[in-house]
Amino acid sequence: MTDTTLAQAETLAADPASVPPPRRRRRTLGGVSGQILLYAMIALLALVYIYPFLVQVATSFKTEQEAASNPISLLPQTFSIAAYERLFLNSDFPLWFANSAVVTILVTLGRVFFVSLAGYALARLHFRGRGVVFALVVGVMAVPTVVLLIPKFLVLNQIGIYDSYTGMVLPLLVDAAGVFIMKNFFESIPTSVEEQARIDGAGTFRVFWSIVLPMARPALITIIILSFQGSWNELSHFIVATQSPELTTLTKGVASLASGQLSQGTQYPLKLAAAAIMTIPVAVLFFIFQKRIMNTSEGAVKG
């Protein structure tokens, strides 16, 4: 900790740009120590936010004894990949990962298509009942997901898609918030290009597919981020939609690991390795679209 602070202070002192302008010379001394204090505080906070993930990765490479005896260190004394071997060669983990990947890809593709289709219709096409449909979408956004656990199971069961891929994917294919985002976006772009294409005789779907959709890239990326993160991290829907082991997703599988299936003793290296691997895809997505996520607020709200 002290190292970081000192390093910060040093870079600070070396950089003339960060010294307060001479106009406020009277306060220069307080300003510099204030800056050091600020950097010390923010560095400490960042450490609190990052350290858990570092110790997670470190512990996944420790032996079980060491995870208990020396939980805080970032360097395993005996480097062990036993946890990863166990996960990949001797458990259902690869299956869980594959299930999550399939569901996430299908849901993301489906959502991008259906949500932009509906958003476009609500923003641009004139049809009777449009106001009612939009009211329905907005109303549905207010329904909290946790109260839908039992209801969703009832319907999946009733229509006979309980415990199937269809039951896992279909209910997630549409997201009211996504429709809302796309509608707002389409309303913000000018209509002139579309009108021109229409006059040239293009049909509604053609206008949508080859003219409007390419223009909607920024909004589509928002939808992709939200859908991917949302369906990869989804737990409760899969709990009520499936029961067979072959349909277990990562979230459900790792949750069962956490509560002690598969394990004798604490098995922290194993559990932490599983949790670390399941974080990688969303972390990669996050770093790819980092600039976008950090600059827009709507792309970041977690449901």
Binding site: D15, S18, L45, A46, I50, P52, V55, A67, P71, I72, A118, A121, L125, H126, F127, G129, R130, G131, A135, V143, P144, V146, V147, L148, L149, I150, P151, K152, L154, V155, N157, Q158, I159, V174, V179, R198, I199, T204, F205, W232, L235, S236, A255, L257, A258, S259, Y268, L272, A275, A276, M278, T279, A283, F286, I293, M294, S297, A300, V301, K302
Partner: protein, 376 residues
């Protein structure tokens, strides 16, 4: 929840009339419109509206989980299910405990996450700060991880021989066995000054099967660890909302206040914070709504233990139905939870509604500017 009226949809066009406005280019639009929204309507209808209605029926029925709840041997039992969780007995006690736990969770998480996210946003919004991007990333990263992964990590961090207790030991303290400790924080604090049982007025009176003394127990140590986790994972998301809002705060006003000799603290409270009011309300109500939906963490981690002190209504609804086959009770709990959350949503809409500036406020503003003008 009322949608803004779309003017274009209201004038109904008679089928026989010639399309007037845009000539032939609007042909077939109604058909295409319905076609385009039909997948959304079908899926939302099938997996949101129908389920809610079906669950409403189940909450008034004696369905036991076998066969279809719509079959003829399922009976309407009126408010029995609602009565069983409010009028005494074990189910009532469980429901009361779950409500108590979640209420303490909300009471602590919402102010903490709001204050922390605002604090972080102000820190990383400083123009002079170097490596702003790095710090923003660091604070936001926990928000992208799944609740399952973060819960697994938390179970390790707060385990008895885990890093948090190692850190506490390093400072010479002794950490509790976090996820095994059912003692409420308020009770623990009172016990440390020698009060181990409440006055009769608190212990003799009960609400939802729980004595007032137990209602006031505070979050258990285990729940407190989950509270810290919620603050850790959500502060980044809300920080982004505050950063966006801070970018819109006029710098001129801050500069003017600086000229007038206001210090940083005064500038924040008097200039910046009032301008953040809408975002502040959004963050608080989103927090209130989200905090009543605690499920994943409990399912993954504590399963309601120790001694039911991390039981939440959402998880209780799930276990009542799926584990104990008390589907009616589970659905009834879900609907009560629904009402709680809807109440907060409506409250949010009401607070954030567009409203004209009141006369009183205009007067206050005028007199303030007048005074300021007179003073300078």
């Amino acid at each position: 929840m009322t949608a803004p009226a779309t003017p274009a949809a209201t004038p109904t066009r008679p089928v026989s009339a010639r399309p007037s406005r845009s000539g032939g280019t609007r042909r077939g639009e109604a058909g295409a419109g319905w076609l385009f929204v039909s997948p959304v309507i079908l899926i939302l209808g099938t997996f949101l509206l129908v389920p809610v209605l079906m669950a409403l029926w189940v909450s008034f029925s004696d369905w036991s989980g076998r066969g279809s709840p719509l079959s003829s041997n399922v009976n309407f039992v009126g408010l029995d299910n609602y009565a069983s969780i409010t009028s005494g007995g074990l189910a009532t006690r469980d429901f009361g405990t779950a409500l108590r736990n979640n209420a303490w969770y909300v009471l602590l998480v919402v102010p903490l996450q709001t204050a922390l996210s605002l604090f972080l946003a102000v820190l990383v919004s400083r123009r002079m700060l170097r490596a702003r991007g790095f710090f923003r990333t660091a604070f936001y990263f926990p928000s992208v991880t799944s609740s399952v992964a973060i819960t697994v990590l938390w179970l390790f961090l707060f385990s008895f021989a885990g890093p948090v207790n190692a850190l506490i030991a390093w400072f010479g303290g002794e950490g509790p066995n976090w996820f095994r400790e059912p003692t409420g924080l308020v009770h623990a604090a009172l016990a440390s000054v020698g009060i181990t049982s409440g006055p009769d007025v608190l212990t003799q009176n009960t609400a939802l099967g729980l004595s007032w003394w137990d209602w006031l127990a505070g979050p258990s140590v285990a729940m407190f660890a989950l509270i810290l986790m919620a603050v850790f994972t959500t502060s980044g998301t809300f920080m982004l909302l505050f950063i966006a809002a801070l970018q819109n705060v006029g710098y001129e006003l801050t500069e003017a206040a600086m000229m007038d000799g206001a210090n940083a603290w005064q500038r924040f409270w008097r200039i910046t914070l009032p301008q953040l009011r809408p975002t502040l309300f959004t963050v608080i109500t989103l927090g209130l709504i989200g905090c009543w939906q605690v499920f994943d963490q409990i399912y993954t981690g504590t399963k309601g233990d120790p001694a039911k002190t991390t039981m939440t209504p959402a998880y209780l609804s799930y276990t009542s139905a799926f584990r104990d086959n008390e589907w009616g009770v589970g659905a009834a709990i879900a609907f009560i939870l629904f009402l709680i959350i809807i109440a907060f949503t409506i409250f949010q809409r009401w607070v954030l509604r567009d409203r004209p500036v009141s006369r009183r406020r205009i007067r206050a503003y005028q007199s303030a500017t007048y005074r300021k003008g007179a003073a300078s």
